[in-house]
């Protein structure tokens, strides 16, 4: 081949590459633009809440019960209620969700029955939360006679996030390479041993991440809690789960009436007195902060476990 033709084709190749690289950069620009506008909205929202709620963002706000006087009202019963509901939700949805995921992923035969179950689990994630509230009202509050209690609220939110937990757990179980399972089977391990000694420990990071993401969804849920009858004015705390004397813990709080952060916010927002708007903003900032904190924990957990296990 002549030198001139080689040069010409080289020019051609370069022109071609440059043209295609422009498309590459266009996509990067569009992607960054979209991402930053989404982030910007969140940051502006958060800063706006903090700015508006600034006068009430102090220790008294966290340690006071709600009050008719806006400047004396606090979120003590709300955040204690939210924490206890989250505790109940996590305690119920973690074992149930992980067990369901293990069954579907490791044990269930691949047939039309499991296919239907799988489709339904995924669909449940998209069911409006108020439907869960109605279900819970009929089932937990009246049928099981749990009343308008923390237990009922925790169970309701567990149902709500179960699909999220199951899907996330299945994803992380599936991420364990087949070669690792085969290695364990080849040493004579049973299916349970393979699951308990290998698959489950290696996917803990993903499972915890899914769990926390589910809880972050649950923490902001308002509709189902209103449906099952959350109160918005509670000037007492539920009985403490921890006791001074044997057996050191109590479950009496499960049966008590509750309020939660989003309920308290909703209540304040709907009041005509503008001073309550300040309270609502402050509570909103704290709730958003709690959610971001939980997501931060999820990212940290994932990072920790990823570092330890690297396929």
């Amino acid at each position: 081949m002549h030198a001139t033709t080689a040069e010409a084709s080289l020019q051609q190749i370069r022109a071609d590459v440059n043209r295609r690289k422009i498309l590459d950069q266009v996509f990067v620009m569009v992607g960054l633009l979209i991402m930053f506008s989404a982030l910007l909205v969140l940051v502006v929202l958060f800063l706006d809440l903090v700015r508006e709620g600034a006068p009430r963002l102090n220790w008294d706000f966290l340690t006071s019960f709600p009050s008719r006087k806006a400047e004396r009202a606090g979120i003590l019963s709300a955040w204690v209620g939210t924490s206890l509901i989250m505790l109940t939700t996590a305690t119920v949805s973690m074992p149930v969700g992980v067990a369901a995921a293990i069954y579907l992923e490791e044990y269930a035969p691949k047939n039309w029955m499991t296919a239907i179950i799988e489709i339904n689990v995924t669909n449940l994630a998209g069911v409006p939360s108020i439907i869960y509230g109605l279900l819970a009202l009929g089932l937990f509050v009246y049928q099981f006679n749990l009343g308008q209690s923390i237990a009922a609220a925790g169970l309701t939110l567990s149902l709500l996030i179960l699909p999220i937990v199951i899907v996330a757990t299945r994803e992380s179980l599936r991420a364990v390479p087949r070669a690792i399972r085969e290695a364990a089977y080849a040493l004579g391990a049973t299916r349970w041993e393979v699951t308990a000694h290998h698959v489950l420990p290696y996917s803990t990071g993903g499972i915890l991440t899914g769990m926390i993401i589910g809880l972050s969804r649950a923490i902001g849920e308002t509709a189902p809690l209103i449906t099952i009858g959350a109160l918005s004015f509670i000037a007492f705390l539920p009985e403490s789960p921890f006791k001074g004397e044997f057996p050191f813990f109590s479950f009496a709080w499960l049966k008590e009436a509750f309020t939660a952060m989003p309920i308290q916010m909703f209540n304040w927002v709907s009041r005509p007195d503008p001073k309550f708007q300040v309270n609502a903003a402050a509570a909103g900032a704290i709730l958003l902060g709690m959610t971001l904190l939980m997501n931060g924990v999820a990212i940290y957990v994932r990072y920790r476990f990823r570092k330890r296990i690297n396929w």
Partner: protein, 296 residues
């Protein structure tokens, strides 16, 4: 690559019977004498025998009526082109196919001395896998410590004593020729090792439970030549201790490490013989075509 002291415990490995381009080369007689049929045949015991073994993936018949005898404490190599069923056959020995739905065995694989049929539905695959170890194509250590990797098989068998575990782990690591490299970092992750070390760790893991047969599924295909040579040396050393079946697509490797070689093609066993006989004087045309590089 061919070095290593020639002691009574560690006989020299046979020279390759083929040049790299596949042309047969004359084997060096000094090496082959020790393993010629006349010297060893009567001392050999059959460890396992496949009798009319067929295997199905759904409706696809992947293995067709295999009959083969595996000799005790010898290395048997399975060679053949990709898709010929050699790995499928190997995985019948420890019932690995049971993990895949829709598979079916036909015929028998008898394990001696107790004459149980390894592929019989009535025989528990867990029991089979407790007796027959396996080393995989890609090194697959658990993301646990080096110690726990080797100890796992023993733990599954209910061994709890720390002292016994330590003893057995050291023994297995020594047998797999990796003890010196890892003895100071048994608590490090198995994944922190190099590829070749990982594979020897996997061999140690399989050896720790004293398997009667050790299956190797192309154990060096993911490794560089130096790591490959170390694994091959190791297999040669193991020959006196355990029955080995090795799948390889590398004919030079089969010639170097094995005593017997089976050539498979399209799910059938074409020829099974002494390695030196099969590589220098194959009786089947197909075998000759394959080992001389005419196809595959």
């Amino acid at each position: 690559m061919q070095s290593g002291p020639s002691t009574p415990d560690n006989p020299p490995r046979p020279a390759p019977t083929h040049a790299l381009d596949g042309r047969p080369v004359t084997p060096r007689p000094s090496i082959d004498v020790a393993r010629s049929p006349a010297n060893t045949e009567e001392a050999l015991v059959v460890k396992s025998r496949a009798e009319g073994l067929s295997f199905y993936y759904g409706a696809v018949r992947a293995l067709k009526d295999l009959n083969i005898e595996i000799r005790e404490k010898r290395v048997t190599a399975l060679i053949g082109p990709s898709g010929c069923g050699k790995t499928t056959f190997l995985r019948c020995f420890n019932r690995m196919h049971d993990l895949t739905p829709g598979t079916r065995y036909q015929g028998r694989i008898i394990l001696f001395p107790d004459s149980i049929d390894l592929v019989d539905k009535a025989v528990d695959p867990i029991e089979v896998r407790m007796r027959i170890g396996m080393v995989f194509q890609k090194p697959n250590p658990f993301p646990k410590s080096i110690f726990e990797n080797v100890a796992y098989g023993l733990r599954v068998r209910g061994l709890r004593s720390k002292a016994r575990l330590e003893e057995e782990v050291e023994r297995a690591l020594r047998r797999a020729a990796i003890w010196e490299e890892v003895k100071d970092r048994l608590d490090n992750s198995g994944l922190s090792l190099s590829g070749g070390q990982q594979q020897r760790l996997c061999i140690a893991r399989a050896l720790a439970t004293n398997p009667e047969i050790l299956l190797f599924d192309e154990p060096t295909s993911a490794l560089d030549p130096i790591a490959t040579a170390r694994i091959e040396e190791l297999i040669a050393e193991l020959r006196d201790q355990v029955t080995v079946i090795i799948v390889t697509h590398n004919m030079q490797q089969a010639a170097r490490v094995s005593d017997y070689t089976a050539f498979m093609y399209l799910g059938e066993l074409i020829e099974f013989d002494n390695t030196s006989k099969l590589f220098t004087n194959p009786s089947q045309k197909a075998t000759e075509d394959y080992i001389t590089g005419r196809y595959g």
